[in-house]
C-alpha cells in the first residue's frame, strides 16, 4: 500500500515538474544582449590582446636590450621611416588593424599608450587622441586589434608607446586615407 502511494506521489511530482512553466524572454532582450555582447566583448578582447600583444612587444624589446644592451636606442639602427609599416583605410569606414607583437617572456604591469593622428579615431573612443592601458603580458605572439575610423582624408602616423619599469619603446604605423 505504501509503495503504491509513493508511486502515485512520484507520478504527481513528475506531472508537476513537466507542467512547471518558464516565461519567455522579454521582447527585444535577445537583440539588446547581442549588442551588449559585441560591444563589451570587443572591449574586453581589445584590452586582453592589448595586454598580451604589448607584453610580447615589451618582452621582445627587453630581450633585445638583454642581448645588445640598449640596442633599441642605438643610433646605428636603420632610420625609423624605413621600417614604418603602413595601412590604407577608407574615409569614415571603420577598419580593424591588427598589430602583432612577439614576446620572449611574460611581463606584468606594462603601460601602453596609443596616440592617434588628427582625423583618425579609435572606434569606441570618440574624440580621444591618446588612450592608455595598464596591462600584464604573456609570452608568445599576440594580436592587438585596433579598429580605426578616419574622419578626415589627412591620415598620419599612429604611435604605440610601451613602458615597462624603466624601459620603453615606441612603435609607428603610417595610416593613409583614401
Amino acid at each position: 500500500m505504501q509503495n503504491a502511494a509513493t508511486n502515485r506521489q512520484d507520478q504527481e511530482v513528475l506531472e508537476l515538474l513537466k507542467d512547471y512553466p518558464m516565461p519567455e524572454a522579454d521582447a527585444g532582450f535577445y537583440d539588446q544582449a547581442l549588442v551588449r555582447a559585441t560591444h563589451e566583448g570587443s572591449r574586453r578582447q581589445r584590452n586582453k590582446w592589448m595586454m598580451t600583444g604589448f607584453g610580447a612587444a615589451i618582452a621582445a624589446t627587453i630581450a633585445a636590450w638583454l642581448i645588445g644592451g640598449m640596442l633599441l636606442n642605438d643610433p646605428q639602427l636603420p632610420a625609423p621611416e624605413a621600417a614604418i609599416p603602413g595601412v590604407t583605410i577608407a574615409l569614415a569606414e571603420p577598419r580593424t588593424v591588427n598589430l602583432v607583437f612577439a614576446s620572449a617572456t611574460a611581463l606584468d604591469s606594462a603601460t601602453l599608450t596609443v596616440s592617434l593622428p588628427d582625423g583618425i579615431e579609435l572606434d569606441g573612443f570618440p574624440g580621444q587622441r591618446e588612450i592608455t592601458w595598464q596591462t600584464s603580458l604573456q609570452e608568445g605572439k599576440n594580436l592587438l586589434p585596433l579598429t580605426l575610423v578616419a574622419l578626415t582624408p589627412a591620415g598620419g602616423e599612429l604611435l604605440a608607446h610601451l613602458e615597462h619599469e624603466d624601459r620603453d619603446r615606441t612603435f609607428r604605423l603610417r595610416v593613409d586615407v583614401t
Binding site: V13, L14, L16, P21, A37, T38, G41, V100, L143
Partner: protein, 211 residues
Amino acid sequence: MPLTERLVATEMAGSAKSILVDLITGVTLGNCMSTEQQSLAFERLVRPHFDRLYKLAWRLTGAKAEAEDLFQELLIKAYGKLDDLVEIEEPGSWLCRVMYNHFIDEKRRYARRRLHTVEEGQLAGEGLQNLPGGDNPVVDNERLERMKQLDKALQQLSDEHRIVVLLHDTEGYKLAEIEELTGVPVGTVKSRLHRARARLREILVADGTIS
C-alpha cells in the same frame, strides 16, 4: 592559439577585410575580419540557440534577473572565443557547457542574489506570472497554487539536485546530455535525480500539495 591558427580561423569565418601588421618586423601579414563582420558572424552562430540558452539560464538560476545576467555573460564570453566557436560542430551544446561552467564558477554570487530575492519575497512564483490560462478559472487558480508550491519546494533543493531534476523532468534532457553538460557521470546524475524527486515528494506531501 598560435597566430597562424588564428588567421585561418578568422578567414574561414568571413571574407577578409582588415589588415594585419607586425609592428616588430613591419610586415603586413594578412587579413582578418572587421569588427562588423565579427559581429555578424557571431550573431549567425549564436542566435539559433538563444531560446535553448535562455531556458537553461532560467533553470540554472531560478530567477529572471539572474537568468538574463547569466545569458548576457555567456554571450560576452562567447564573443571573445569567436575563433573557437566557428570551428565547433555543435555550437549549441558548446554554448550550454560554457554557460553551465560559468554558472558553477559564479554560483556563490548567483546564490547570494537568489537568497536576497527570496528574502524579499520576489522569487516564488516569479516565473508563473504569465501561466497560460484555460477555460476554468477555478482549475487555473488551483494549478497556479500548485506551481507556486512546487516553485518553493525547488528552492529548498541543493543546486545540484534542483538543476538535474529541472533539466531531466522539466526540460526533457537525457541523462547522457546532462552528463555532457555538467561533466557529472551518469550514475551520479541518476542518483541526484532520484534524491531530488524523493525530496520534492516529501516537501509537497508535507505541505499538502500532493497526497
